[in-house]
Symmetry: C2
Subunit: 236 residues, 2 copies
DNA sequence: CTGCCCGAACTGTGATCACACATCACTAGC
DNA sequence: GCTAGTGATGTGTGATCACAGTTCGGGCAG
């Protein structure tokens, strides 16, 4: 029957639950640094803000708590975790190890299309950073795009999920600062590190790619730590 | 006041929500392989089995879904994911990379107490495996204890959480088989690999520790893949 | 003016109900 | 006899209500 052909062209109707939408919305807030460490979150208030009942919010929040991106205090208050210097350092070291691993694999296995995507992401980040007035919020998103363009080429889906979760935990600490002071993009090392990553991926140099990504993470973490905004922080 | 001293000795009352308890119960079922890939899970039935309402179960299940330990089919049915050969291989490779990393760090940083704990875990696993009639369920638990005794010595809390999540995803596939055929413990390579891990940690040989853990994971994954129980599986 | 205390408002947790949808057995129609 | 439609049953999802606990501010006593 000809109708079969017409039906085959129909796009699948996407079935998203409100919980997923709420999870995405809160994730975005956390990853972009619009929720700062220590900020409290009320189920009812966020439910009202998103125009839904508390149920979808509960599920979204409980997932984020499981990810470590949010925490429930013994008082049962939900808030963005405040990392002390030691926890932040451990998180940064974990990221350096795992994201370095992923970048190394990406350098070895990437194909032409993936390389092109990484190159585009690097260019976009550079264009914004070198602009007369860099956009902090945009820089956060473009930085994320650049990193995940690399990790997408590593060929391991579980690895990408793990890294996404790590970013959820580190996002509030890292990006709050970047949003507030986008000018450090121009003097910071991110630009140079990204160029190193791109070059290593181009030449299939796994060791260099891992070192460049680890260096990028290390520099950013060092900057945050030296600024001393964390509880119990001491420089280096 | 002397009552202050007496009060200080009181252990903290643990405030566990029903959701957490349910999560632990389901995690245990998954990690030990008592829930097999493809098994369906009904919220109402499990709620009745645990003697609670569906609410705590919903939160527990949604967390496990977020971890990838469960999945909701487009039909909205909750079930244990059925990994095809490619997915299983990617998961195994990710585990080899990350758990190898953790083992390497553990070998470098372990202190005497951690070494002793690892040694005890290795002995316990060996004792059960070399018994006339090895206990499959016990072997699963002891194998887990051995691995996590090593990872606990790596000094990075986020790394341990990541590995725990990976085990949740791989558990049903790996341990279902081991529970059914515990006799392969006697001929399998797990015993030898564990001894290699212990030796490497004793001598602080990071490279050897990483290789031994990766080898252990590789051998188990290879065995599962060669057995061909996975969709789209071909040997090696 | 300062300290304590009590109560109102809010928090997350859990139970219960309502709803749209999927599945499957069964039956009426070809 | 076989297919398509129909109903009952069970599913996850979402809303609403009830409750114990916390927090915070206003008012009373010192």
């Amino acid at each position: 029957m000809s109708s079969q052909l017409a039906l085959a062209d129909l796009p699948q109707i996407e079935r998203r639950t409100l919980s997923e939408t709420a999870y995405d919305a809160l994730s975005d807030l956390l990853a972009s640094g619009r929720l700062a460490p220590g900020d409290r979150l009320s189920l009812r208030q966020t439910a009202a803000a998103l125009g839904v009942s508390v149920m979808p919010i509960r599920e979204a929040v409980s997932r984020l708590v499981a990810d470590g991106a949010l925490e429930v205090a013994p008082n049962r208050a939900v808030r963005v975790p405040i990392l002390d210097a030691g926890e932040f350092r451990a998180l940064a070291e974990t990221r350096m190890a795992i994201e370095g691993l992923a970048a190394g694999r990406a350098a070895e296995r990437r194909d032409a299309a993936e390389l092109a995507a990484i190159r585009r992401a690097e260019e976009a980040f550079r264009a914004n950073a070198q602009a007369p007035a860099p956009d902090g919020a945009k820089a956060v998103a473009l930085n994320r795009d650049m990193h995940f363009a690399v990790y997408a080429a590593c060929g391991l889906a579980p690895m990408r999920e793990i890294i996404a979760r790590l970013w959820l935990k580190a996002g509030p600490v890292l990006n709050l600062d970047l949003r507030a002071h986008p000018e450090r993009l121009q003097h910071g090392s991110a630009l140079r590190r990204h160029a190193e990553v791109l070059r290593a991926v181009e030449t299939r140099d796994a060791t260099a790619a891992a070192a460049a990504v680890a260096g990028d993470i290390h520099d950013a973490a060092d900057f945050i730590l030296s600024r001393g905004g964390l509880r119990g922080a001491e420089s280096s």
